[in-house]
């Protein structure tokens, strides 16, 4: 090393380079972090309590204790459902009375008075207006109750504890711990849940979370579940227990959805999306009393109205489509009747009816309009509901009327159970599908997310119907 020409220096450096410890970069980075922390600790004074408060510790112990954690979680989810179901009945009836009993004749008469041709009156009043009015009446009250309840729980700090408690299951199936959070978000809206998966850094685990998000019952599907449970399952129990039984049935479907999400995640993490579980850290924020009115306001504006608006935007054209389906004849039958007759054999196998399958095709834009569509189509096919015109629904202001229409459509308890299952497991709505494409930028994964739940749903319904018919 006597000579110091540039070449020698470079050669020397090249040789010394290999003698440094292997993880030199990591060690340097670590000591920089450590030094920064030391400087901060010397120069920053902190005020206030750093130890956790006693009541917070006690509450954490209760909410994460092996014996109490899960009963409490299920109890709270069940309570939210029960409040939503029982609380939504009265305002729903009032809205239906206002928008349909009084609003529909008004719109219809106005159009007639304006000398609109009969087909235009039918399309606008019986198609577009009625579908939209129905969506508002069916959806607004449960959403206005469900979303604020959820936001309150989130603000209080309960949801992160749910993710904490459930994490071991996510570990076992090879999914990311934060998937618990995106799944609870999916309980509100799957499109929102899919966007929320951005909190997961690893692309592999994020894809799993995206594909399985559809198994979280979204807000558009809660009304279907709730209506089916209260008309067909609650009715099996004595009147005093009807509400509880319905809530339990809906809860069971929601938990089944969780089970399917875990099963699918497990399957994906062991086949096409194999990989290491990446590190995850979940902050458990201190409990704080939620600011009630602020939460109510923001969840109404940010969630309820946005989701409702989306539903209306999709319901109006769907209403037109339903009316056209029902009123354009090909040969001796309407388009709707053709489709319904054609799919009836498959529908029977699945324990459903052709009307339901058609409703799910029409309702791809939004799950919210499934029930209104089913009612309209049932009226069309059976002529029930007071001799109204094709594709028109009258006086759906109480569950009694809905019940009589559905019974006229040949529905049984099996139909309701299979509809609840199919509502849980079918393709996501078009907004969610589009969101999945935007988030993954892959047609392949979008297709998987779309068809995987549909295939599971069809299989599940066929299996359920077969077993039911065997036992009955």
């Amino acid at each position: 090393m006597e000579t110091t020409t540039p070449d020698h220096v470079l050669k020397n450096a090249e040789e010394l380079r290999w003698q440094l410890p292997q993880n030199l970069h990591d060690r340097i980075a670590e000591s920089i972090y450590g030094e920064a922390a030391r400087i901060a600790a010397e120069n920053v004074t902190r005020e206030g309590q750093t130890r956790r408060l006693r009541w917070q510790q006690r509450l954490d112990r209760l909410l994460t204790h092996p014996l109490t954690a899960f009963p409490i979680m299920i109890l709270i989810l069940g309570a939210v459902l029960w409040i939503t179901i029982t609380g939504a009945n009265v305002p729903s009836g009032m809205l239906a009375n206002l928008l349909i009993d009084h609003g529909h004749p008004l719109v219809s008469d106005t159009l007639t008075a304006a000398h609109a041709p009969e087909w235009l009156r039918g399309l606008l009043a019986d198609g577009v207006y009625l579908a939209t009015a129905w969506v508002i009446a069916v959806m607004l009250p449960p959403m206005a109750i469900f979303f604020p309840c959820f936001t309150l729980l989130e603000d209080f700090g309960f949801l992160p504890r749910v993710a904490f408690n459930l994490d071991r299951i996510f570990q076992k199936v090879g999914a990311h711990g934060k998937q618990a959070l995106t799944m609870t978000m999916g309980l509100g809206c799957n499109a929102a849940g899919v966007v929320a998966t951005r909190i997961i850094d690893s692309p592999r685990e994020r894809l799993i979370a995206i594909i399985t998000n559809n198994f979280s019952l979204c807000n558009g599907r809660w009304p279907t579940q709730i209506l089916m449970a209260s008309i067909f399952l609650g009715a099996l129990a004595p009147k005093a227990w009807a509400g509880t039984i319905s809530a339990l049935a809906v809860l069971a479907v929601a938990l089944l959805g969780f089970g399917f999400a875990m099963l699918t995640s497990w399957f994906l993490a062991r086949t096409v999306l194999r990989g290491e579980a990446t590190s995850f850290s979940l902050e458990l924020p201190p409990y704080r009393p939620p600011s009630f009115w602020k939460t109510l306001y923001t969840s109404l504006i940010d969630r309820t109205l946005i989701v409702l608006w989306r539903a209306i935007v999709f319901a109006a054209p769907a209403g037109a489509a339903i009316w056209l389906c029902a009123n354009i004849n090909l040969g001796d039958q309407s388009i709707a009747a053709w489709f319904i007759n054609f799919t009836e054999p498959l529908a029977w196998l699945m324990g459903l009816t052709g009307v339901i399958l058609l409703a799910y095709v029409v309702a791809i834009p939004a799950n919210e309009i499934v029930i209104p569509t089913i009612l309209m189509l049932t009226v069309l096919v059976t002529g029930a509901g007071g001799g109204a015109g094709a594709g028109v629904m009258f006086e759906p202001d109480s569950t009694d009327v809905v019940r009589s229409i559905l019974h006229a459509g040949g529905w049984t308890t099996l139909t309701a159970v299979c509809l609840m299952l199919f509502s849980l497991c079918h393709n996501p709505c078009s907004t969610t599908i589009y969101t999945i494409y935007k988030e993954t930028r892959s047609w392949k994964w979008t297709a998987v997310s779309t068809f995987l739940p549909l295939i599971i749903g069809v299989a599940l319904c066929i299996l359920t119907a077969a077993i039911w018919r065997m036992l009955a």
Partner: protein, 322 residues
């Protein structure tokens, strides 16, 4: 070894490149490549191996000396380029993706034939010109420099003398998976190793007594520890009892890439006081108080965080780690 259609031109190139790697491997270990050794390494019939060597000769990449074959200068440059791509790709998989460790080799083996040298240089830039791949193999530099290194494996390492892991053999895959489950990585310290009668080795690794089965001992290559390895008594965060407090000493070498960055970002840096608060109903994850925030970590991660007993301070802290 080769799942591709033998007739296609790209599969021919893949075979040539694999043969070059074999020649380079034997050159590094001062052995001469023969038709038999190549046939064994690529799992192909001997006539095929002989034909490949013929093709290498005709393209000026290898030359024959008696029954053995050696790389020409051109052949060596080519082979080193393929090895460089392979190891860079493995490093990238380990640091930036969540590909399971046992798949690194397989994936890199596929990628090395498709990634050109320009792309490999890009990869090197992205990774800050790493010197070692995740197994501890040296990554050849842009100029093709790759020092030879000599290791002693754990099987022949003297009892009682602490060592540092320098290199891990990544084949066979199933055994490498076992090494991974023991969380051994290059730079991991193996303290006071002791050979047992059945050939397995018992050692203190990151505060835990670990039994390394005999079948793994020849795959683990060691070097003597340097002086700066003198450490206080270490434990792993996952072994901290609930309610106890400790101080972070360092993150384990097995914790790399994104995982390491995330833990550092959380404030898990040397000197941070950390208290284990409460477990989840299933035991893992557990929640820890770190710098005033309650953070849940899975045991799998907490194992990678090395802690020491806190230096007693004149605070109201009554709990101690020991």
């Amino acid at each position: 070894m080769n799942p591709f259609n033998r007739a296609s031109a790209s599969s021919q190139r893949i075979q040539l490149e694999d043969a070059l790697k074999h020649l380079l491997d034997y050159e590094q270990t001062n052995r001469g490549t023969t038709v038999e050794s190549l046939a064994g390494a690529l799992a192909i019939p001997r006539p095929d191996a002989a034909e490949i060597l013929g093709r290498l000769r005709s393209r000026g990449l290898a030359k024959a000396a008696g029954i053995t074959h050696h790389l020409t200068e051109d052949g060596r440059i080519y082979a080193i380029q393929v090895v460089r791509t392979h190891r860079l790709y493995e490093t990238w998989l380990a640091r930036e993706t969540s590909t399971p460790a046992e798949d690194w080799h397989k994936e890199a083996h596929k990628a090395e034939h498709h990634i050109g040298s320009a792309k490999a240089d890009e990869l090197a830039n992205l990774l800050n010109n790493p010197r070692f791949d995740p197994h501890g193999d040296t990554i050849p530099t842009r100029e093709g420099h790759m020092p030879k290194r000599e290791f002693t494996d754990l099987a022949s390492w003297p009892d009682g003398q602490s060592a540092r892991i320098e290199h891990l053999e990544d084949e066979p895959e199933s055994l490498f998976r076992e090494i991974q489950t023991l969380a051994l990585a290059p730079d991991t310290l193996i303290e006071t190793p002791r050979h047992l009668e059945d050939g397995s080795v018992k050692a203190l690794i990151e505060g835990r007594n670990v039994l390394i089965p005999a079948r793994l001992t020849t795959l683990i290559h060691l070097a003597a520890t340097t002086e700066d390895d003198g450490k206080p008594e270490l434990r792993r965060l996952s072994d901290l009892a609930i309610g106890d407090t400790a101080v972070v000493h360092a993150l384990a070498p097995a914790c790399t890439g994104n995982e390491r960055r995330r833990l550092l970002d959380l404030g898990l840096v040397p000197g941070t006081r950390i208290t284990c608060e409460f477990p989840s109903p299933f035991g893992s994850p557990r929640s820890y108080m770190i710098r005033g925030a309650l953070i849940a970590l899975r045991d799998h991660q907490a194992e990678r965080i090395l802690i020491e007993a806190p230096v007693s301070q004149s605070t109201s802290e009554t709990t101690s780690a020991q």
